[in-house]
Symmetry: C2
DNA sequence: GGCATTGTGTAGTAGTTACTACACACTCAC
DNA sequence: GTGAGTGTGTAGTAACTACTACACAATGCC
């Protein structure tokens, strides 16, 4: 398996893989499009600063075409919309999630599909 | 349905219902057992201060025999162990939770039971 | 009526979060 | 060789989080 990257490493690798073929992915350009200072992004990519807030992470995800939930996870966070869903029925979701903790991916995936396909 | 209480209101009602029959549930006593200043708890119960951190909420849950996940939800938080589980497989859990967002309780409950009983 | 206990008011604070602003040195194109 | 663009270093900060410490007035108990 690919060794787990830090948030900063992941960002840098994602961006550098794109800047190779598209000059629009320089650190400065990406920072500008994401609405943050270049020096801030620089520090983030080198894990010198902790990851930014959810809004900025989402912007970066858009710019780099990465999955926001994955990026947020690497940043040690969970999407605020998921938190709201859990908070709306805490006992229900807490139970479910703890039950699924040690289930293999394919089992959980089956669950996702069953729910989606409405076999209910 | 019971109108949704704030975190502070919920705490106060829980505590006052107990102090009626047990003097050990005065604000000061509970605060002491939970390891916080009485004035702090007072402000929290009146929603004058935002809810405390997860550790204190858990202590209060123990003292008042309330469900920690419910208390955390009222405080606008989600248990850190659940966050860790989600972060470990962000895409998987994000999908599942968003799918379940609008499912009725009984459907989700069935899921919980099926998983628990290992009908897999 | 005095001591204990109750809830609350006021004031303060250390630590963290989430950034901005600006300057600098290097490289590259032409 | 100069102007544009690159990444990075330094410095600072406003807002929020999560509390403590102490003093005070009211009530209860015997």
């Amino acid at each position: 398996m690919p060794k787990p990257l830090t948030f900063g490493q992941f960002l840098r690798e994602s961006r550098e893989s794109k800047v190779a073929t598209d000059r629009g992915f320089s650190l400065r350009k990406v920072a500008e499009r994401a609405g943050i200072e270049p020096s801030y992004l620089s520090k983030i990519e080198r894990d010198e600063q902790p990851p930014p807030g959810e809004a900025v992470i989402r912007q970066l995800a858009v710019e780099l075409s990465e999955d926001p939930d994955v990026l947020l996870a690497l940043a040690g966070k969970v999407s605020s919309d998921l938190l709201a869903i859990i908070r709306s029925r805490p006992r229900l979701f807490a139970d479910l999630i703890r039950q699924l903790k040690s289930m293999p991916d394919h089992a959980v995936l089956r669950l996702v599909r069953e729910v989606r396909d409405g076999s209910w």
